[in-house]
Point group: C2
Amino acid sequence: MGSGKILVAQGGGPTAVINQSLVGVVLEARRFRNVERIYGARYGVRGIINEDFVDLTQETSHNLELVANTPSSALGSTRDKPDVKYCQEIFEVLRAHEIEHFFYIGGNDSSDTVRIVSLEAQKAGYPLRCIHIPKTIDNDLVGNDHTPGFPSAARFVTQAFAGANLDNASLPGVYVGVVMGRHAGFLTAASALGRKFPEDGPHLIYLPERTVSLDSFLADVKGVHDRLGRCVIAVSEGARDASGAPMASRLVKNLEHDAHGNVQLSGNGALADLLCEEIKSALKIKRVRGDTFGYLQRSFIGCVSDVDQREAREVGEKAVQFAMWGDTDGSVAIKRTGAYSVGYELLPLDAVAGKTRVMEDEFISASGTDITDAFRNYLRPLLGSGMPDAFRLRFSPVAKVRNTA
Amino acid sequence: MGSGKILVAQGGGPTAVINQSLVGVVLEARRFRNVERIYGARYGVRGIINEDFVDLTQETSHNLELVANTPSSALGSTRDKPDVKYCQEIFEVLRAHEIEHFFYIGGNDSSDTVRIVSLEAQKAGYPLRCIHIPKTIDNDLVGNDHTPGFPSAARFVTQAFAGANLDNASLPGVYVGVVMGRHAGFLTAASALGRKFPEDGPHLIYLPERTVSLDSFLADVKGVHDRLGRCVIAVSEGARDASGAPMASRLVKNLEHDAHGNVQLSGNGALADLLCEEIKSALKIKRVRGDTFGYLQRSFIGCVSDVDQREAREVGEKAVQFAMWGDTDGSVAIKRTGAYSVGYELLPLDAVAGKTRVMEDEFISASGTDITDAFRNYLRPLLGSGMPDAFRLRFSPVAKVRNTA
């Protein structure tokens, strides 16, 4: 082949392991003698348009390993959602730099960008190999058992609810934790893995895959609180009311829209606050607290799944191998091959791009406010090793001597 | 002595290591032959009034060790703030059960409860040894180098801001993180320990120990954003405006007051949301996000300082030793004896009870929006071992070929 130039970029929201995939690409590409230069684009596709490239061939393998273990996109990212014209511009820059392999690490929107760029190259008869590398904490890419980044975010959510449950058991009341996930409830559902004892929370889980009226929400909360004297609730930011609209979109005054036309659901505490107000006023419960996990759940340093790290590295490596040994563009996908083991496939870009996976029905309980054992079995191995565990005292009551009535 | 009965209870907000202190009391007390029974009161002082006691003598040492590593109060806690009458009732219950040693793990309010109960016992001529065991993530107990629970919460805040900074660097904008701490800024100040590179955030830190007008806040943010194209801000929930009032108290409509007469600052996202709105509207910055760390910072399971664990265990052990070998009531205090090493003293209850420590001036920069090296040196050893570290690529720019103008 010609130039031997590779370009890699990172798109969308950061994850705890997105740099593993980047480093997987770089280190694997170094093994191929025909690869002369490995460029990185800063700030995703915007960096391509701006020709903001760095030469990753001139980075030490030692520092690359350290960066691999650092969360958030080391090259920078962007929320730009390229349309066809934008993708044509991307292609023109790639051609001008004689790039022969384009690797883009990202979610649904990023896979669609790769798809359009791939089409442009084909139309122009330019030999460009385009590979999409999966990444999203939302776990909403079709064709994948799960996506890199999700297991570590799920681990954060699991650990957060395990702690919130202990806090709530110690100082009883109602606790609402709002979790990211616009359309897919996987991350919110991960809250259930924090449970250990039968009375542990979250006692109620509200997913975007099901609708709930405010009245029925309040009845659910009252039921748990009457029974246990406390209630821990996990709510997806994308939880929908009876009409199917996001509850947050009715509650928040000035809704911000991003470049993808999506309502901005994260970055504020409005949904948690409003649900807490409703619970206080309707149920007359005094101690009601809400937390919005926000950016902590995707960027917290020091809460990462080792399984996620390994797989994120491998999808980067496999992307290069598919590009070098294969002859088609595509999207790398994780397939579960055992309990627990994975393999990797290259899916057609059409099969992944712009599609959204949501939680399968078998993962959601009949009540719609809990998860099933199938989901527990699905998620548990992804959380990785060294999960912290909660224990409690086994109480031996002492007889009263004063209030013995 | 007579009955050989000990009572231990936990008060106030949970911490990641409060059960270490509980277990320290129980296991150390088992070494004394004159101790016949070790009772625990469920839900703090309320459990004493209700005679809701459990017999910790009938708990295995193995399970106690597991509970020690579990965050949040294993016996349960309370927000009740006892007045003199309440404390007299506590004393009457202790006397009725022939309790001879009373250990209460908690913060300022708890130490005041111990002080009053101690006085009641003296007035009645009843031989009761009363020891307060320090605990608070706010680090606001006087007479202590620091308090158990603070180091682990500080570690969470440090790690959270290290991650938030990476996220913000990847997708530039303004990020506001609101941290607990009504009067003392120690926990908010811990955010600075997440910085590594000169441009890292938090770029601005707002502590309750200093006041700031909204105009000056906005000017600070604009200055950083103009310089770096982004800005990460740490704000204490107790941050005060120019009049000295908590900013949150002006912003939040229906302010809740707790039994201590304190305005409820935690448990909602109002302060972060309002500051974000102000930044958006006044500075015309598009990407502005706010997180309120809320209960995550005090109860997250799996983010704990090993130094904190060790010291929390030791204050429990020392409490029993002071009670058994000494002849005064008091509050166990941590003193720094080396870099890094600590010792323990028993302070008079009067010296600690109801007093609030705030950040020393030497810990706050002249600007009022940053911390000093003295604070960095003070906090670093408390965070413990195995702190995650962030690395970045060393960029080698590639020459442009198209936009070469």
